[in-house]
Symmetry: C2
Subunit: 418 residues, 2 copies
């Protein structure tokens, strides 16, 4: 059986899976990968004495201290800034909660859950207030979904391509299993009035961060999460309550949720006027750009990695779309002239990270690797040239262009624009 | 629209989902859940000053210190024992890595990954040894799957029902997204000889824990994991390498994997002779019971919870099967006389936790709640009476009978046998 191989060394995604070809895979892997000596086990210190005891709550290995969130805080405004998920060090689709990105406006409040309340008021017949104990008794639902800051990847708007690891560039996106109460159930407790059009959600941090959300989205798939990846939400992700707005920009997923005001128009808050708005080529600003469009990034190999052997590699990356499922990720090794479909790790879930992988043969050729995602609406991730043609050069938010990694003959990786 | 309601107050699983019925849900919830005062926000301390700064690696809230692994170690054998996942405190299907259960034979080795090797030898033409750096270059795959100790729930064999929280009874099962290299790829590097029938996997802890695995399973869906829930595996779960044997008993999922010996028969190790074997009614022992059969448990409400109001509840629990997907979970409120189908949270994945939920109306009646799982092979979880009839009273491993929670008129919950 022959497998398709295209320019730059990309190979049909089924290549690794066929038993008949495994041997040729082995043969093509350099000798040092199959070194036969020594084959006696050295008795290491950890084989010579009992290990550590049981722990109530586990932590990463001390040898993995490099896998951390990179933080970037504003020294003039306490608690304002970002920490980034190190996407280049991670695999699969789940982001461990300790590495979920953070974006705070005034730091991480340490909320006592017994004192916390969620109020729903405004254009309702029955204003209500829930304690956490109340909320824990409501019906729950779970969803594995990504949250992406509207400002993620904004360095892509720079004139010159930024040279930095994937996580420091695109790491304001993470993916967790969230569990909570359908927002619709709680809104129904408050009995919305007919003129209710917008919901204004407020967090309980010192900035009282608030944003507006159309009522149609609020009553469709939004939920009020109490749990992240099985356990109660971490403080920096909104403990004890976070509004989850699947597929829409991160700022709407209000952390430390304490108030939902029902109104007939948006609130015109700082985060939907001065920030998180789009300056268009016309000079006007677009106030709302809720949905995070389809995007993909090759995380391995990527900037900061060094290719130090010839032979087979598995290219791996992440794709996601705020409009539903990813249906296709294509990979190119010649900067988009020819494309080959990557394998999508199952299950492929809507509004969730999708891991893609594809075999690639590198024999020292200079190539430009890139990926492009297509979602179930048919939307195709644009090139940077296409994105700039559409949105102009004054953008700051919602950068989702194809990302190119140029690999030199020396195996060095740099970020290049198309 | 009328919804089916059966004995003990169980209601059709779609009850919460129908918009037309939300109001009746609200109406049936006691007044204290919708208390209308006070509706002004008190200015708490966390709204009055900036919160904490950004962190490189997040931790649970200090208010959640009760959600921990309960540990049970043998004081006469350092590092021998168990820690249990607190299933009663968790939601969704992902177990956070810090709460994944532990079963160690000689403690948790602190392995330096640069010194660790994986050797494959025995009935092979090309004995091989891999460093972690080598392995990281191989093609990877991901799977969300459960690992369950063969000894999980063994207190079910006691003459009297144990009165303890779900996690301390059934918590030797957890579910993570694991990412690693298909074992078949690595075995092919070693070139198995025709008489290769068994694989003997050894861990790098001080007990050099080893077990035998049939080659057919090893070359089907097993993989050598480097990542758990996105990040590198935690030390207590096998850092830097763990063998994943989806759906089969936990002891086969060898942690700190350092050696795979290929043989034509099992090794007759301690953990497949003195332990992890089944004493049958005939007095003979069954050496191998690899597959973990279908099982389900109601985690909420369960022992340790106290019902303190009348009205609607959502019953929630977990089901899983080592034979594939869960196709059905039924719940009974009259100890198995009548059953109603629970809702299965999507996605339902093979060899993975499945979260089930069902509405239940409690008006102070004494009931016995229980759940039973069916998997895609048609296997139905047995009652304890059926299990004992089949396996006798000398069992220790593979206890998967239906678990009954008796709820008194006072809302107190106890564990009862059928």
């Amino acid at each position: 059986m022959k497998f398709k191989q295209i320019a730059g060394g990309l190979i049909d995604r089924r290549y690794f899976l066929k038993k008949s070809l495994i041997f040729s895979v082995a043969a093509s892997i350099p000798a040092y990968l199959t070194a036969q000596t020594p084959l006696e086990l050295e008795r290491t210190e950890w084989m010579s004495e009992p290990g550590l005891g049981f722990s109530n709550y586990g932590q990463p290995s001390p040898f993995e201290k490099k896998t951390i969130r990179w933080t970037m805080a504003n020294s003039h405004a306490p608690g304002n800034g970002v920490s980034w998920t190190p996407l280049q060090d991670l695999e699969g689709i789940i982001t461990p909660s300790g590495l979920h990105f953070e974006r705070h406006h005034n730091g991480v409040p340490q909320i006592d859950p017994t004192a916390h309340r969620l109020m729903i008021h405004g254009l309702v017949n029955n204003p209500v207030e829930f304690s956490i104990e109340n909320l824990l008794q409501y019906p729950k639902t779970s969803q594995i979904c990504f949250i992406e800051c509207g400002g993620n990847s904004n360095a892509g708007w720079h004139t010159n391509p930024i040279q930095t690891p994937v996580g420091n560039f695109h790491g304001m996106v993470s993916c967790s299993e969230w569990t909570g109460i359908p927002l619709k159930l709680l809104l129904n407790e408050a009995q919305l009035q007919p003129q209710a059009q917008w919901l204004i959600a407020e967090g309980g941090d010192a900035s009282l961060m608030n944003v507006s959300l159309p009522i149609d989205k609020a009553t469709s798939d939004c939920f009020v999460a109490l749990y992240q990846n099985g356990e109660r939400i971490r403080p920096e992700n909104g403990y004890p309550l976070r509004l989850i707005v699947p597929g829409w920009e991160g700022v709407l997923n209000v952390k430390w949720l304490q108030r939902i005001h029902i109104a007939n128009q948006p609130t015109m808050s700082r985060n939907e006027t001065a920030k998180y708005t789009e300056l268009l080529p016309s000079g006007k600003a677009q106030q709302f750009s809720f949905i995070m469009a389809a995007k993909s990034i090759i995380t391995n190999p990527s900037f900061g990695h060094q290719l130090n052997r010839f032979g087979l590699y598995q290219i791996s990356g992440l794709a996601w779309s705020g409009r539903g499922k990813i249906t296709r990720v294509e990979v190119s090794a010649d900067q988009g002239q020819t494309w080959l479909d990557a394998e999508l790790q199952t299950p492929v879930l809507p509004l969730c990270f999708t891991r893609f992988r594809i075999p690639w043969q590198w024999q020292g050729q200079a190539v430009v690797l890139c990926s492009r995602a297509t979602d179930e609406t048919g939307y195709i991730q644009p090139t940077r040239t296409e994105l700039v043609a559409q949105r102009g050069r004054h953008g700051y938010f919602h950068y989702n262009a194809i990302v190119n990694w140029a690999i030199s003959a020396q195996g060095k990786i740099s970020h290049v624009y198309d």
